[in-house]
Structure formats: C-alpha cells, structure tokens
C-alpha cells in the first residue's frame, strides 16, 4: 500500500541545472565559433636569378591607385582581365610576375592574383620593385 501511494505522486523534475548548462554551452559556442570561411591561394616564389626564359614573363606592376602596368602598358582592371584571358588562351603556361610598389595594399595584390588565377593562370610569382620601373 505504501509503495503504491508513492508511485502515484510524480515529483516534478528540477530543470534549473539543465538550463544553466545549456546557457553556458550557448555562450561558449557564440564566442568561439566563426562564420568566416578561410581559403588558401597557392603562391610560388621568384627564383631569385633571372633565367634564360626571362623574356617570356608577363610583368604586371600594381600601382597604389589600383591601376596596373602590364609590360609597360598601363591599363585598368577590366582591360587587365581581357588581356590576361587572351594571353592565357594563347599559352596557358605563361609565366606571370606581379610586382608591387610602395603604397600597394595586400588586398590589391591578392585581387590581382585572384584575377590571374580566375582567368586560368598558374605560374604566378610575386616580387617588389627594386628600381623605378616603367618610366
């Protein structure tokens, strides 16, 4: 009889510790998760010394204004895109060297590299200008 009576009376479950733990988990995940997807771009280094095939390199000089000079011929972003497309259609293995000048940001450099990769370029090198260039 005693046992029967006890089971009939259901105690309410204490939910407060559960809420505490869930709240902590929510805070943990809110702080430590990031929604930025980071990708990577491959990059090759200049070989240091100019080799025999140096004349076949397309040189892209980036200027702080965002304009680029390709083989001493100034052009804007759209012109560069079509120029690269023509160039790489003729020779997909075309070597492309990107030169930066003082005042150019990493974003500008990466944007130009991005354009080269998107048009199908593979041999990309990055270097900075040692002497006044294109004058």
């Amino acid at each position: 009889m005693e046992f029967e009576r006890r089971t009939r009376r259901i105690q309410e479950l204490n939910l407060t510790p559960l809420v505490d733990i869930i709240l902590l988990l929510v805070i943990f995940f809110m702080i430590s998760t990031s929604f930025v997807v980071s990708d990577s771009m491959e990059l090759s280094l200049p070989s240091g010394k100019a080799d025999g095939s140096a004349q076949h390199i397309t040189r892209i000089l980036i200027q702080p204004s965002g304009e680029v000079v390709v083989n001493q011929q100034p052009m804007d972003g759209n012109a560069l895109n079509s120029h690269l497309a023509n160039l790489l259609a003729a020779n997909a293995e075309e070597k492309i060297a990107i030169f930066t000048t003082p005042g150019v940001s990493v974003q500008q450099l990466v944007s130009v590299m991005d354009m080269v990769y998107l048009t199908g370029g593979k041999n990309v090198q990055v270097d900075k200008v040692e002497v006044p260039y294109g004058s």
Binding site: I22, F29, S32
Partner: protein, 138 residues
C-alpha cells in the same frame, strides 16, 4: 477584487522553463552546426578577399603578418631579423613543409613581399596565402 489579487500574488507560480530550454537548444544547435571552431589567434588579422581561394590544408608552419608589422610563426612573435632562422628551423624537419601565410588585407604589399623573400632565403618552397571568400563580405 482586491482580496483576490492579494491571494494570487502571495502564491508564486513556478516559471515554465520548458519553452526557454527549447529556444536555447535551437540557438545552441545553430551555433554548433552553422559555425566552426577556430583556434584562438593572439593577433586579429583581417584576411584579404579573393574568389579563387581553395580549401587547402593548413600547413604545419603558420606565419602571421599582423597590422602593426609583427610577425608570428606558430603564435610566437619574431622580428624581421629572426624570422628567417625560425622558418629555417621549422623546415629542417622537412623542406617541403607547407608554409601558410596569413597577412592582413590593409598591410603594405611590400611588407608581405619582404616576408616572402625571407621565406625563400630560409628555403621554403610550398607556400599558400590565406584569403576569405567574397560572399561573406568584409
């Protein structure tokens, strides 16, 4: 009326916690599934945006170039003069090790190129630059 109100306030009802738990579970699931955990970085780096970036494995050598010009190799701070030796030490295990470079988008590109020259001097061959996809925005 007055008496009725008094009686109600004297007997506090238990707050219903079930809807609260339901909502918190949904928020928890959103953060667990929607985001991804990232290792804590001692310096904040605003990654450059690019569309051609691919999901590549992060190499064992992680070089960070912060906005103030500080250079970090695997979370330890180095100067322009000591970073070559450190990378050389890291590459002693295997010269083909992938070097992942995280450079801030607002930095001078020449600073990045200077770092690249030092990596080359240290004998690094496999390099990748970390970017973020443009879909997310800045």
């Amino acid at each position: 009326m007055d008496l009725d109100f008094e009686r109600r306030s004297r007997k506090p009802r238990a707050i219903a916690l079930i809807p609260l738990i339901d909502v918190m579970f949904v928020i928890l699931l959103f953060f667990m599934i929607g985001g991804h955990l990232e290792a804590f970085s001692p310096v904040a780096v605003d990654l450059p945006i690019a569309d051609s970036g691919q999901l590549l494995d992060e190499g064992p050598v992680k070089v960070t170039l912060a906005t103030d010009g500080r250079i970090l190799v695997n979370d330890a701070i180095f100067t322009t003069y000591t970073v070559t030796d450190e990378i050389k030490r890291q590459l002693a295990v295997n010269p083909e090790r992938i070097i992942t470079i995280k450079a801030d988008a607002n930095l001078e590109a020449n600073q990045l190129v200077r770092l690249l020259e030092q990596v080359r001097a240290a004998g690094g061959v496999n390099l990748s630059i970390v970017t973020q996809s443009g879909l997310v925005g800045s």
